[in-house]
């Protein structure tokens, strides 16, 4: 067992150092796809979460319930629905997005959006109503108020993005289903790990897993660093 791990490590180093073109390509695609997905999730989820956390409107509770359910949405279910929608004869079939990286971005966005939105909403719901009054009293316009509240909630916002990113890189079921793990087109790290394992190539799978862990670690580290940035005393 230890041998297997060790071999995997050696193999990983070999592949990375030798710059195995396929590995490089898969890694870059994974980065591109995951970063796009988390970016879209953040751009949509932050404003939506802020609105849900701060505003009061009919239907708000229902939406919050749906989002909480969405947080636990099994990726394969998301994948299934996207496949149905993108299927050639489906409602969005004309876009021919199925089995493209774009489809994976959509799937990863769908599974991370509820997390980013839900955690952001919770963060903003926790802001003391008196704090909002006080900021208004300081003469803030509506947009200035939002900006100040975002700065106040920055730790929680980053936590929401970190959690969403975790979902994005970990997700494999949906990416497999809507991307198809096509070599040179939609193969990403997680889907190729699944494939290598099914072929019995544990060493390659391990090598890939080290790469994905390194990516997850690096990005989470950067976000956490940003979050916990030491403030001047």
């Amino acid at each position: 067992m230890m041998e297997l791990l060790f071999e995997g490590l050696i193999k990983a180093f070999e592949m990375i150092i030798s710059g195995d073109p396929e590995i490089v390509e898969i890694t870059l695609r994974t980065l591109r796809v995951s970063m796009t997905a988390i970016l879209v999730s953040t751009l949509l989820g932050l404003p939506a979460g802020m609105l849900l956390g701060l505003a009061r409107f009919p239907g708000r509770k229902l939406i919050l319930v749906l989002i909480n359910i969405g947080m636990g949405l099994p990726p394969v279910v998301a994948g299934l629905w996207i496949t149905i929608f993108l299927w050639r004869s489906g409602p969005l079939g004309d876009l021919s997005l199925l089995y493209t990286p774009a489809a994976i971005v959509i799937a990863q966005t769908l599974v991370s959006l509820p997390i980013v939105t839900g955690l952001t909403a919770t963060a903003f719901q926790q802001i003391d109503e008196k704090m909002i009054l006080q900021i208004k009293a300081l003469g803030a316009t509506r947009w200035q108020l939002v900006w100040i509240l975002m700065k106040e909630a920055r730790l929680a916002i980053l936590a929401a993005i970190i959690a969403g990113f975790g979902r994005v890189v970990a997700e494999v079921g949906a990416a497999m289903m809507v991307g198809g793990n096509i070599s040179g087109e939609t193969r990403i790290l997680t889907t190729s790990i699944v494939m290598e394992v099914s072929k019995g190539n544990f060493d390659i799978a391990l090598a890939l897993s080290f790469i994905i862990m390194a990516i997850a670690f690096l990005i989470t580290f950067c976000l956490t660093f940003l979050q916990q940035r030491k403030r001047p005393e």
């Binding site: 008196k130 006080q134 009293a137 300081l138 803030a140 316009t141 200035q144 001047p232």
Partner: protein, 244 residues
Amino acid sequence: MKEPLIVLENINIRTRDRSILSIPRFELFPGEALGVMGPNGAGKSTLLKTMALLDLPGEGTVFYRGKKVTDHSVLDVRRRFAVALQQSLLLDMTVHQNIAIGLKLRHRSRREINMKVEHWMEVFKISHLARKQALHLSGGEAQRVNLARAMILEPEVLFLDEPFSALDFPTKVQLLKDIKQVVSKTNTTTVFISHDLTEIKYFTQRMAIIMGGEIKQAGSTAEVLSEPNAYAASFIGEWSRLLT
């Protein structure tokens, strides 16, 4: 008689099942220091919120210098006021940045902001805390920052909602003295909510007693304290007699 600065007319604020503020008419005059007293939950903070235009009342009208305040004008008018609440509610930034925030929101020049921040930190004796994170301050320090943050706006009306209640006695006395001095020097109109008769006596010339969302008595502070009506007497009677 001076023109009133703020007039409340036919104000009615209610929650789903009951009225929390009901004021047919109430006036605030320029240059005066108005005290507001009343039991917990009487509606004092709600009154302040309405007068300071933090929320336009659903029912009723607020006039500022004779003009009806509308959704359109509310921000402009609100920016002439400053509010310090009981909890200091400082933002997660340095003391300097906290005091500067109001002017920054008004897009004043950096030079002006820095000059004024220095000045008000001196007035409230917190210059040494300038670079400190506001959330690390003691209660008394935070309250000084809170007051400096309000005073730097050079407001026409200063609203104080029990800003001294969390302070130890000497600090409270010192701050009351400092604020009173600043307010009378700058001729700032002040609305001061407090549960403390001695504070009200020291600070205000006029006072209002509010109970159950209604103003039960309003008049000169000396008069209300020496001749409280039945409502006021039920609330402050005993104590004011003991004090005078």
